[in-house]
Symmetry: C2
Subunit: 440 residues, 2 copies
C-alpha cells in the first residue's frame, strides 16, 4: 500500500510506534514539499501529546540530519567537542569557553544560534565585534577549526534544512515545547556539524525553558540517548537559571565580560560555569584524565594568556578586529544613556528573575521578539548585585544601558518587578545541579 | 494585545477553556483564509486530544453556522423537523421516512450527504431516480418544503462553509474521529438549514463510526446539548449497526426497498427503524401526543397510500420521474450480472459484518473511496438472510449485482469473510438500544 501521510498521523495520534520507513517518508516529504504544512502541523501536535519513543528518536533525528550536508571533520586530528546550552539570560559562556578549550588542545567546531525571546544568542554577541563574520562557508569553517582549533558559526542552509523548516512550523503551531522535538532538533544540527562529542548545558529554573529539574533531566537523557545511537558521547550538566549569569546581559557587554574571564577576572558564576563545562569538554576530548586535571589545565591556559590569545586568533580568522581584546571600552559599542534601578528597601537580594531581566534587555533592543527584528549591540543591563548580597535602600542593583528613546521606562519597571528582597539571607542553590552521562 | 492564532493553539494544547472571542476569531480566520491551514491543523489535533467543553461548543458551532447563510423557514407553518443518521450500511431510512413524516403533517427540510467509505449517502441514492435534482437553490428548497412538505438536498456552498473547509482539513489530518468536532460539524449544518428540531439516529456497533455504546451516547449527548444552547429540541436514538439494514445495499436498489416500505411491505428492520424514527419526528413536530398515537398515524399514512403519494410528489417537484414508484424494476438501474455468495456450511447466521459488506458494495462501485469517485447506481448487494436465520450449506446468503469487470471476485471474498455461522441460535440485540432526550 502506498504511503499516506494521514495514516502516519493517525498512528502517532493513537500512540502507535512509527516505523523507521514511515518516519523517513514523512520527514523527507516535508523537506521536499510533497507533504503539505498542514499535515506536518498535525503530526507535530500529535507528537506533542504522544511523544517519540526510543525506537522513533533515532530515525527521526537521522531523517533531519540526512536532509542536508553532514560535515566531515575527520581531516582534523583529535576528538572534536562542541557545547550546547538550552538558553539562558546573560549566558555568554560559549565565548570564553570555546577558545579556552581549544587552547587546551581540544578542537571546537561550534555551531551557534541567534537570540529569540528573553534569551540572547552567541552569534549576535560575536557580531558586536567590528568585522566579525559568523557566516563562514563550510570549507572555511573546517579549515579554521583545523588551523586555529576553534570556529564559531551559525547554522548554514546546508545543515539539517528539514529541522529549519520544522522549527519554523513549530514556532507558529505552538509545538515548540516538546522534549523529543527539542532534543531531535538540537541533535540533528550537532550531528550534522561533524562533532565527535558534545557537552550540554541544560538550564533549569524560572529563567529557563525547562522550569523543573525533572523536565530538564528528561531533555538531557533524551539527547544523550540520541547521541549514543549515533555513536557520539554526550555529557550533560543541569545548571541553575534563576538570576542572570554573571554581570552583563546584552551583546557587546557580554563580549567584554567574556574577555575578563579569559584574563582571569570576571564574575564568579560566569567563571565557575565556564570551568565546569570546560572540564567536561577536556574529558570528552581525551586531553585530561580527571576533573581535577582538567581544571588545572584550564586554569593554566587562562593564567598563561593562551586562552585569551586563542580568542584573538579566532576573531582575526573570522574577519574581526582583535584589538577589542586590548581596548574593549572603546572598540565595543555601549549605549550613551544609563538608568539605575535601585533597591526599594534594605535587605538581602532574594531573587532577580532572569526571565524578566532578559525581557527588559530585549525591550531595550538587545534581543528579538520576532526573528526578523534587528539587535542593538550597545544596549543591555548590568547586574550589580547577586542573589544573597546584602543591599541598602536606594543602592543601584541594575544599570540599564539605553538609547533614550523612552523604552527604558518599561524596562526599568520590569527590572523592579524582577527584584525580590528578604530580611534573612536566602539559600543559594549550587550552580551545577547534576551531571548526566549515561552510557548505552 | 492582538489575536495570535498560536496563542489560542497553545491554550487549547494546555487544556485551557478558550473564550468565545478567540473561537470566533480563529474560525473566521480559517474561513477568510487569513489563518493558514497549518495553524488550523494544529488546533484541530489539539482539540482531538483535549476536546471542547460545554462553554466552547456553542461558540464553536455558532462560528461555523455564521460563516454562511442561515435559512429562514419561518414562513412555513408548523414545526420543521429533520433527521440525521451517523451513517450505516443499507441505511436508506431517510428515503421512506421524510415523505412519510411529511404526509403526517410535519414539514421535513432535509439536508443530506454523499456516501464515503463503507457507508452510502442519501443524495447518491436519490440520484439513481432518473432526472432527480439534489441541487435545488435555497429559494427552491424553501418553496418546496412549504408546498410539498418535504425536500431533500445536499449541503450548498452557502451553508456553513467554514465546516466544509474544516471537514476537508480533518479528513487529511486524521482528526475526523473527535466527538466535539463531529457534533459541531453536524449541528452547524443542521442549524444553518433552519430546522426547528432534529432526530438523531446514532449508530453503534461493528458497522458504525461509533464502535461502543459509550462513545455513541457521548456523541448524542454532545449534539443534544449544542441543540439546547440554540433553543432547538434534539432527540437521539442509539440503534444497532451490526448487519446491514434491510435487504439492499447499493443505490437504486435502496430506492426500490424504500418504495416497498411506503407500500406497507419491505424488510422488518427497515420498516421498524423507519417507524421508530418517525414516531420521534411526529412527537417533536407536535402532531402526536404519545409514541402510540404517533405510531398509529404513521401506519395509517402508509396504509392509505398518502406516504407513497408524498414521495411521488417530492420526486416530481425535484425533477425526477415519479413513474419509478409504479415501475421500479424497469426505471431504476440494475447491474446485468449476479454472483451468489453461499453459506459454507449449515447453521445459524450469527453475524454478517455490515462494514465488510459495505466495503464489498463500495468495491463494486456503489460507494466512494475518495470524494472525487463516481458512483454506479446499479451495482450493490442484496442480503437474503438476516442474523438469526437458520441456513443450509450452499444456500445463497448474499447476491452481488456487478458489471462483470472482475471486481466482483474481491467483493465476494469480502462478503465470505463477513459471514459467521454458529451451531446455536444467536442472541439478537434490539434495533433501538436507547432513547436520549436531555432537557437543559
Amino acid at each position: 500500500m502506498a504511503f499516506r501521510p494521514q495514516d502516519t498521523i493517525a498512528r502517532k495520534r493513537d500512540g502507535v510506534v512509527l516505523s523507521p520507513d514511515e518516519i523517513r517518508a514523512f520527514l523527507s516529504g516535508i523537506s521536499a514539499g510533497s507533504i503539505p504544512d498542514y499535515q506536518a502541523a498535525a503530526l507535530l501536535m500529535a507528537v506533542f501529546f504522544r511523544g517519540l519513543d526510543e525506537r522513533e528518536l533515532a530515525p527521526w533525528t537521522e531523517a533531519m540530519l540526512r536532509s542536508g550536508d553532514v560535515l566531515d571533520l575527520s581531516s582534523i586530528p583529535g576528538t572534536k567537542v562542541d557545547k550546547h546550552s538550552t538558553g539562558g539570560v546573560g549566558d555568554k559562556i560559549s565565548l570564553p569557553l570555546a577558545p579556552l578549550v581549544a587552547a587546551c588542545g581540544v578542537p571546537v567546531p561550534m555551531i551557534s544560534g541567534r537570540g529569540l525571546g528573553h534569551t540572547g544568542g552567541t552569534l549576535d554577541k560575536l557580531e558586536s565585534i567590528p568585522g566579525f563574520r559568523v557566516g563562514l562557508t563550510v570549507p572555511e569553517f573546517i579549515a579554521q577549526v583545523g588551523k586555529v582549533g576553534v570556529a564559531m558559526i551559525g547554522q548554514t542552509a546546508e545543515l539539517a534544512p528539514a529541522d529549519k523548516k520544522l522549527y519554523a512550523l513549530r514556532d507558529v503551531t505552538s509545538t515548540v515545547e516538546s522534549i523529543p522535538l527539542i532534543a531531535s532538533s538540537i541533535m540533528s544540527k550537532k550531528l550534522a556539524s561533524g562533532t565527535d562529542a558534545l557537552v550540554l548545558d541544560v538550564k533549569v529554573g524560572a529563567g529557563a525553558f525547562m522550569k523543573t529539574r525533572e523536565r530538564a533531566r528528561e531533555l538531557a537523557v533524551t539527547m544523550i540517548r540520541i547521541g549514543a545511537s549515533f555513536g557520539r558521547r554526550v555529557v550533560a550538566l543541569l545548571t541553575t537559571m534563576e538570576e542572570p549569569i554573571g554581570r552583563e546581559v546584552g551583546n557587546a557587554s557580554e563580549v567584554r565580560e567574556s574577555i575578563e574571564v579569559l584574563e582571569g577576572r570576571g564574575p564568579r558564576d560566569t567563571v565557575d560555569l565556564t570551568l565546569a563545562l570546560g572540564k567536561q569538554m577536556l574529558l570528552l576530548g581525551g586531553v585530561a584524565g580527571s576533573e581535577a586535571e582538567a581544571g588545572e589545565r584550564l586554569t593554566a591556559a587562562i593564567a598563561s594568556g593562551q586562552a585569551r590569545e586563542r580568542f584573538g586568533r579566532m576573531i582575526e580568522a573570522q574577519g574581526g578586529d582583535r584589538r577589542v581584546l586590548d581596548k574593549p571600552e572603546t572598540l565595543l559599542p555601549l549605549a550613551e544613556h544609563r538608568l539605575e534601578v535601585k533597591a526599594p528597601s534594605s535587605g538581602y537580594l532574594a531573587a532577580l528573575d532572569a526571565e524578566v531581566v532578559g525581557k527588559a534587555a530585549m525591550g531595550l533592543g538587545a534581543g528579538r521578539l520576532k526573528v526578523e527584528d534587528r539587535v542593538d549591540p550597545g544596549v543591555g543591563a548590568s547586574v550589580l548585585a547577586k542573589v544573597g548580597d546584602r543591599v541598602e535602600a536606594g543602592q543601584p542593583l541594575v544599570v540599564l544601558w539605553h538609547r533614550g528613546d523612552g523604552r527604558e521606562r518599561e524596562a526599568a519597571e520590569r527590572v523592579q518587578r524582577a527584584i525580590r528582597l528578604s530580611d534573612a539571607a536566602p539559600n543559594i542553590p549550587g550552580l551545577v545541579l547534576e551531571r548526566l552521562d549515561i552510557r548505552s
